[in-house]
Amino acid sequence: MSRRVLTLAERSESGVTDASYELIEAASRLAGGPDRVSAVLPVGDASEAEGLREVLPAGELLLVEGPAHASPTADGTAAAVLHAREASGAECVLLPHDPVGWDVAPLVAARLGTAAATAVSALSWRGDGLVARRSAFLGKFVQEVEAPGLPAVATVERGAFPAREPGPALSVRILPSPVGPGDLRSRLVEVRDAGAGGVDLTAADVVVAAGRGLGGPENLDIVHELAAALGGVVGASRAVTDAGWLPHELQIGSSGATVSPKLYVACAISGAIQHLVGMRGSRFVVAINKDPDAPIFGAADVGIVGDALEVIPLVTEAVRDSG
């Protein structure tokens, strides 16, 4: 089978994002070779992509060019992806499962008369359709879904595929964009830092992370005490920062910080994939959770199954006593 697969390449300060290379690897495996992978890069002017041809290891690099793409928008990027899909004849479109993909994938899927398979970690063809492995129930379960018709659309989890080594694109095509700035319904006003609060999670040797299972902000004291006893800093899962128990800059996981400390202690964190991608570089992981089936135990070295409110103070005490 020689179906083409299209991926979205996103620019970063130093070239293209790591996610772009992971998507090309995922697409290459699905398509049966990098030569059948097309990567689309929306650009305001093709000269912006100079040099990227040498590092994007796809069969073809499609530059969708026009002033509408000078800065990225949901509908502008979706239009570029749809245009490149038609031009390449790709039967599957792979987008990152991140805030860019969340914006673009449904707009692309709706235009193709389908839904996207999202939060995907594995992909295969089945007949004239696509089968995707994805996470459901906030990471508690793994689900297989089928998109019975092609073209299909999927958003791929960060880290599900290794990043492909940079290399030259076999060919480059410049496609004039089908949309002008006046056609777009959204406009990027600015991108700014949310403002870090002085704690550098990424530099800490020890991170103690608080999860929703702690029940409420009144129970965070025990997490701070454990962090103090371990000489570490406090981080949090998305649920905790969303609930306002801790500030957003302490969030670990996709759309938050990526940490790789020597010691990571997950307190009452279930371990949704969105959290795991932010901490799996840690050297030693401890999980404390009352649910023995919590996915966090699959990512931990040592676990205690029990009520975090009871166990955490005991661990703090044991650490102090051990000195």
């Binding site: 707009l107 839904a115 793994v142 089928e146 676990g303």
Partner: protein, 259 residues
């Protein structure tokens, strides 16, 4: 123009879920409103209170008992509900759901449609975006802030690495909200009383045609690559056994260690 909230009935978060066939065993589950959608409802109410919407409408697709989530929206202060009645099994395909919701929304004079970023059960995270795509509305996902300025809607979107994108949207627009964008209100007793007199329009949906967007195949627990060693014994014993393992595994010393 009106403010619309798309809401979904989902199994209670704290239920003991068991995979069964291509989904979970639903025989003994309680149901309630998807947590993310409470933030969508609050955003719609706030829009009206700020004078940017005439009326608030909550729309759901689901079985007969999904009417309960509309009642809870009305009790929070939403003016009226639209219930697209369909089998729970038909909610498996986000495209089917989105097409039904888009059909309903197109008749509501919607200025802004709010959706939760994702549903806690299926977690597809795209129904709002599909509705936008089908209706040709503007779209922003993962919104953590909203601002109306001179008749334009600005959405703050959370990007990776702690950055925020500020996006200006033409109306009508669909905004998929992150939890944390606001603080959803609780229903007051008066709100609950008043909700009983508020209208809910019921529309029976036709069964989905063959094909569609997505089909469920299997559901199971994640495989454990390297599974944790679970420390046995009482909590005290487990805590005591943990400390030397942390020292050795992580190769760190702790502040209380005597030099």
């Amino acid at each position: 123009m009106n403010a619309v909230a798309l809401v979904k009935q989902v199994p209670d978060r704290n239920s003991a879920f068991r995979p069964a066939g291509d989904w979970i065993d639903e025989s003994s589950l309680g149901y309630g409103i998807n947590d993310y959608d409470r933030y969508a409802v609050e955003a719609a109410l706030a829009l009206k209170e700020a004078g940017h919407a005439a009326e608030t409408v909550a729309v759901t697709a689901g079985p007969a008992d999904a009417g309960q989530v509309l009642r809870s929206c009305l009790a929070m202060g939403v003016d009226r509900g639209v219930h697209l009645v369909t089998d729970r099994a038909h909610l498996a395909d986000p495209f089917f759901v989105a097409r039904a919701l888009a059909g309903a929304v197109s008749g509501l004079d919607a200025g802004v449609v709010f959706a939760g970023l994702l549903a806690e059960d299926s977690g597809h995270g795209q129904v709002g975006g599909l509705v936008a795509g089908l209706l040709g509305f503007s779209f922003a996902s993962a919104a953590t802030g909203l601002q109306f300025r001179d008749g334009r809607l600005e959405a703050h979107r959370e990007l990776e690495g702690g950055r925020i994108a500020v996006v200006e949207l033409r109306l009508p627009a669909v905004v998929a909200v992150q939890t944390g964008i606001n603080t959803p209100r609780y229903a007051s007793l008066r709100g609950i009383m008043a909700s009983r007199r508020k209208p809910v329009e019921r529309v029976e949906l036709a069964a989905p045609a063959d094909g569609g967007g997505l089909r469920r195949l299997t559901l199971g627990r994640p495989e454990r690559g390297a599974s944790a060693e679970i420390l046995p014994g009482s909590p005290q014993e487990a805590a005591a056994a943990l400390v030397p393992r942390m020292r050795a595994g992580a190769g760190v010393s702790f502040p209380g260690d005597t030099a």
